[in-house]
Amino acid sequence: MDIVVCCKRVPATDSAIKIAADGKSIDPTGVEFVLNPYDEFAIEQALRTREQLGTGSVTVVTLGPKESKKELTTTLAMGADKAVLLLTDKWVYDSYSTAVTLANWIKTVPCKLVFCGKQAMDADNNQLPSRLATLLGFACVTEVGKLTLTDGRLIAERDIEGAREILDCRLPAVISCHKGLNEPRYASLKGIMAAKKKPLEELPAQVVPPALTVDSLSLPPARPAGRMLGNGIDAIPALIQALRSERKVL
């Protein structure tokens, strides 16, 4: 089966965010960029699916700047067969643009299954997988925490508020991957060496204009300074008093 994995280069989750001079984007100075953590689950699931079937290919695609080659190379070292960079020098924050661009590219390659991380940890949009599926006419299950493929059908489990849903899903499909789906592998030394010989194709991205324009990006207001109420159980009466009288939550 031919599998496509969509991934993205994002700031590491322990990065402090600073706003750039334009007031509309982040200042990347000193920020470490990594493969979006949820995309690691997507790549791992794609590799496992290829291994289970013993046939097929895993192609990783990203829409991003040329620096994304670092993250794509990581996915090749993990075991993907091919990587494609749809090159843009702009930060594409709008899922409308991302989904249309990626769907148009996916339509040009053989593909029966698409894995995505459930969200990219920059814009936190949570939109791409089900947008893609709709544009491609594929089935889709989002935020999947467990997946099995038997006889050409997927059984997917996902957490919803207060319950777990178990779905039967046909192919072709887009699966959005949540933490817990699998334990992503590390690239082996052999994998890192092999990655150097694997194809990493670069294409100019045809990004459609966004449906939403950015007015500003700002830091959230700082929380007002808190109060230390003391040590140990002696501080409890003061806490109860504060929660009751000041905050009116008790």
Binding site: T13, D94, D122, T142, R170, K179, A211, L212, T213, R223
Partner: protein, 326 residues
């Protein structure tokens, strides 16, 4: 093109509170667009939810109530929502930012070839355009946008918009067939009935590595239970989830859930930047930690330096007493 459609989420026959929040938010904007608010509810056995929506302040309730819609299906529901938006000439459609909202509204956006902003915390309409704000980088920054395409779609963060509508709306009942489904819910395994979902809880009690052993989460569960059934949810730091002590569904923070409860307890949680990102919009934050230098105290409204094993049981008792003598 001035009406606003609100997709009202119902689970197991029960209207979700964030649906009422979305109706109220839509009512405030409809005053400016000059249109009506249409609450669209989809499912099976919707009499109670429909009646509740009638009183929500929405101008009209459309109930798609048919056995074929008993379980959520993104494919089928997206077509219903998109069709309703077309019929009503909707300029906007809103839904809560829940598992269902995150799955459904992007599909509707794709069908209507339009934009969608998710996890919205502020909305406005002026100059003939919708404006919205959402936290990005898990709340480390706020993004403000203007919609350039119509209709404007948004999922709204739960616990963030007031419920303040009232009225007696007309109801339109529809019973279409769902058509072909690409994915089908086979089973729903419900959690214990008295458990409130983390993202909807008014009170969240989170435990971290400071509890030392997984069995000590009993302290956290007892404190949550002190608030009574269905009020407080247990959260976990990433460290204890990665250690396998607690399920990922409880994780608060950047690779887990973002929560904004009225009251948040961080117990034995150091306060890594990823954790702070997931809870900093809580109304009131209480931190209990042995280390007076723990970063969690920088965002806490109230801090107690102390051993969780001493402080938490005493606090649980004190809260029970306080709630019993209101």
């Amino acid at each position: 093109m001035s009406n606003i459609v609100v997709v009202a989420e119902v689970r197991a026959g029960k209207l979700k509170r964030p649906a009422l929040e979305a109706v109220s938010a839509a009512l405030a904007l409809a005053q400016k667009t000059g249109g009506k608010v249409i609450a669209l509810v989809i499912g099976s056995g919707l009499a109670a939810a429909t009646a509740e929506l009638q009183r929500s302040g929405a101008h009209k309730v459309v109930a798609v109530d048919a056995p074929g819609f008993a379980n959520f299906s993104g494919d089928a529901w997206a077509k219903v929502v998109a069709e309703q938006c077309r019929q009503d000439g909707a300029c906007a459609a809103f839904m809560p930012h829940t598992a269902m909202g995150k799955d459904l509204l992007p599909r509707v956006a794709a069908l209507l070839d339009t934009g969608l902003i998710t996890d919205v915390t502020a909305l406005s309409y002026d100059g003939g355009k919708f404006h919205a704000q959402k936290p990005i980088y898990a709340g480390k920054a706020l993004l403000a946008v203007t919609a350039q395409k119509a209709p404007f779609l948004a999922t709204l963060r739960p616990n963030n918009f007031e419920v303040n509508g009232s009225g007696n709306a007309e109801v339109q009942q529809l019973t279409p067939a769902p058509g072909e489904l690409l994915s089908v819910v086979k089973e729903i395994q419900a959690a214990a009935a008295d458990r409130v979902p983390l993202s909807e809880a008014k009170v969240v009690v989170t435990g971290g590595r400071g509890l030392k052993e997984p069995q000590h989460f009993k302290l956290i569960e007892d404190l949550a239970a002190a608030f009574g059934p269905g009020v407080a949810a247990v959260g976990s730091s990433r460290a204890v989830v990665d250690a396998g002590w607690r399920p990922h569904s409880e994780q608060v923070g950047q690779t887990g859930k973002v929560v904004s409860p009225t009251l948040y307890f961080a117990i034995g949680v150091s306060g890594a930047i990823q954790h702070l990102a997931g809870m900093r919009t809580a109304r009131t934050i209480v931190a209990i930690n042995k280390d007076p230098e723990a970063p969690i105290f920088k965002v806490a409204d109230f801090g107690i330096v102390g051993d969780a094993f001493e402080v938490v049981p005493a606090l649980t008792k004190a809260i029970k007493d306080a709630l019993a003598h209101k």
